[in-house]
């Protein structure tokens, strides 16, 4: 009734191939964009921006990155955290060597380094598949983590071994560093995430994205009809690592403010993988939903005891948090193995035919 595409005729090819062919979807996207770009900055406090919105967007971008590789190209990777780290360290080095260049440009450039590293560690995917590949990507995770610790050049020979984000300005406004306003950082992150999502989304709809999906569905068959696995797999690794690298650079520069090698450990990789799986493999909208769910849920759980006036010490809450997250992950996988994106598509279908059952 409210969500019905009957009567929306497509009269040319451009309409037919639009990213959102249904008018209601377009309206929904515009509403979401207005909400994120106008309403949130007005309504949300600095605290909310800093603890929820900025990391949520960054994680969503990282999730999209991993989703390209795992959800669309079918290559299971456990090295996301390290690829994000490459982006962060590359950005740090670039901005220390060329401090006058706009930081946003370096954040985007750092993805290139991450993509190069991703391609190198993607090479084994040509020979090995499935869980063997997943374990092979762990090699990337541990090797790169070791590099972050053992190569002092990467963190400018700091005594602390951590990278500290310097203050960088553009047009007289501090973009990064301790003096940057959360609102500024939020708007930059939002812009980068929206642009990247748009680009990756279109990449996925085109020829390259289709070859990835062919590789995912059956690589031998794809090979037989002329998809070159070398190019398809490595380009998926490159794009995925690029996106993850940008997310990693933003992770440090626009959110954490400082990072040590342990920030990019295997936990981060798993966290992003959870977001991909719970959001839905092979779904852009699912990436956002998964990131929101996995990132925001622990924050909410932490707030529960205080809300009921219970005095539980922080460590216990943290442990309970682990128990609840573990149980919830299993529960959601049992209830909906295809993730939150599937829930949304079921709901959408119901809305389309409402008030009739089918």
């Amino acid at each position: 009734m409210f969500y019905r595409e009957a009567g929306q005729f497509k009269t040319n090819y451009a309409d037919d191939q639009a990213a959102f062919p249904v008018r209601e979807d377009r309206i929904g996207i515009i509403l979401l964009a207005v909400l994120a770009a106008v309403v949130v900055p007005i309504v949300a406090s600095d605290f909310v921006l800093n603890t929820i919105m900025i990391p949520f967007l960054i994680f969503a971008l990282a999730t999209i990155g991993l989703n390209v590789l795992t959800g669309y190209c079918g290559q299971l990777s456990l090295g996301t955290g390290a690829f994000m780290g490459v982006g962060a360290y590359a950005c740090y080095k670039l901005t220390s060597i060329f401090p006058d260049v706009n930081i946003v440009l370096w954040v985007l450039c750092s993805g290139v380094f991450s993509a190069a590293v991703g391609v190198v560690f993607g090479l084994p995917s040509l020979r090995i598949k499935g869980f063997y590949l997943a374990v092979a990507t762990l090699a990337a995770q541990f090797f790169l983590e070791w590099c972050f610790i053992r190569i002092p050049w990467l963190y400018n020979n700091n005594a602390s071994g951590a990278i500290e984000v310097p203050t960088r300005e553009a047009f007289g406004v501090a973009l990064t560093g301790p003096t940057a306003e959360p609102l500024t950082r939020y708007l930059i992150v939002l812009a980068i995430v929206v642009v990247m999502t748009f680009l990756v989304g279109n990449l996925l709809r085109g020829r390259i994205g289709r070859t990835w999906m062919m590789i995912r569905d059956m690589d031998i068959a794809a090979e037989l009809i002329g998809v070159r696995p070398l190019y398809a797999k490595l380009s998926a690794f490159a794009v995925s690592s690029f996106v993850c690298g940008v997310a990693g650079a933003m992770f440090v520069f626009f959110w954490l403010g400082a990072a040590e090698p342990a920030s990019f450990n295997i936990r981060l990789s798993f966290q992003v993988l959870f977001m991909v799986i719970l959001g839905g493999l092979g779904s852009m909208a699912g990436s956002f939903m998964g990131a929101a769910f996995i990132f925001i849920m622990p924050i909410l759980i932490r707030m529960v005891p205080a809300a009921f006036g219970l005095d539980v010490d922080a460590a216990t809450v943290e442990h309970l948090n682990f128990v609840i997250i573990g149980a919830l992950i299993i529960g959601i996988l049992i209830a909906e193995p295809h993730g939150l994106a599937r829930l949304w598509s079921v709901l959408r279908q119901k809305l389309r035919v409402w008030p009739f059952p089918y």
Partner: protein, 325 residues
């Protein structure tokens, strides 16, 4: 040229100059390898029987060791605590089968893999809630495990022909012996008993096994319990060598390269892979590690495994991968 010399020649010169030290390194690599093999064995058991890549094996090791120490702390004699721990692992196996595996049957591998990561989180949280986060000391002596060490001084193996000096921790000897005994017992169990045959049938073909009347659910409980028992032994051994804490979870990541090296489905593979990784890692760390600043243990095993994988994508002993359209 200097760097080439230090990579290609110098380590071997060192090895020849002090053979006793080399033997010591090999021995320690061997013991570590046996223990890696034990963890890998837990993975292989479950992967063979249910096709689940059980990420929770590492945390099961910690959980088993912690509950053993926990029982002893509340005053249960160690041998009884050991039996109680077996009970805990059985409860865990039944619980996992009922609550995780059964509802997720027939789902893609990656979903099951994710579920075991969920299980890992659950067990980490539960373990810390019950036992607290601090490291604990393993009850080595109560379990009648030997402590102390003995020295072997073989003539002429030291530097410049002096007598060598090789230290054997009694605990390591016991660990190796127990691990080998456990592997032998599992081998016997798999090849000679009725349940073992059923397990192998399930590993070969789920549907064929079902059609001849083997209960998959029962088999899953049995393999998860067997993996739990392996985890308990591993936990005791690792716990006795260092403290029992959640840091032990890291050793699961040591077992993964062993797995891909040996093949996910092969018990001999897990053992041989464990030894290759254990010895290779120690040799690399001692002789080549200082060249790049040390600490290479964390990834060297993966690199060794990757090199092997490039030549045999299914691991050393894995089943040949046949793909059909």
């Amino acid at each position: 040229m200097d760097i080439l010399y230090r990579i290609v020649i110098d380590p071997f010169v060192q090895m020849v100059a002090t053979p006793d030290f080399l033997i010591q390194v090999l021995w320690e690599g061997f013991v570590a390898g046996v223990l890696y093999a034990l963890i890998a064995l837990g993975f292989v058991l479950i992967f063979k029987a249910s096709g689940v890549f059980n990420f929770a094996q590492g945390i099961m090791v910690v959980f088993a060791a912690l509950s053993l120490v926990g029982f002893v702390e509340v005053g249960v004699p160690a041998p009884i605590a050991f039996v109680l721990c077996l009970g805990v692992m059985l409860v865990l196996a039944v619980g996992v089968e009922r609550l995780v595996l059964r509802p997720l049957v027939n789902q893609p591998d990656i979903i099951l893999f994710m579920a075991t990561i969920g299980l890992t989180f659950f067990l980490i949280g539960l373990g810390e809630l019950i036992f607290g986060g601090e490291p604990k000391t393993m009850v080595t002596e109560e379990l009648f495990l030997p402590t102390g060490s003995s020295v072997w001084e073989p003539a002429g193996l030291g530097p410049d022909g002096a007598p060598g000096f090789i230290l054997f921790q009694h605990l390591d000897v016991a660990a190796a012996a127990i691990a080998l005994a456990l592997v032998a017992a599992l081998g016997f169990f798999f090849s000679k008993t009725r349940i073992g045959r059923a397990l192998r049938a399930v590993a070969d073909d789920h549907q064929a096994a079902l059609s001849v009347g083997i209960s998959l659910n029962q088999i899953w409980v049995i393999v998860w319990f067997a993996a739990g028992v392996v985890a308990l032994f591993t936990g005791i051994m690792w716990g006795a060598r260092s403290d029992v804490s959640f840091a032990l979870e890291i050793i699961a990541f040591k077992a993964l390269p062993v797995l891909i090296l040996g093949g996910f489905t092969s018990i001999p593979g897990a053992i041989v892979g464990g030894l290759i990784i254990g010895i290779g890692e120690k040799l690399g760390e001692i002789y080549w590690g200082p060249l790049v600043g040390g600490g290479i243990e964390s990834w060297l095993a993966y690199m060794i495994a990757l090199v092997f994988l490039l030549f045999r994508p299914q691991g050393l002993f894995g089943e040949r991968i046949i793909e059909r359209i």
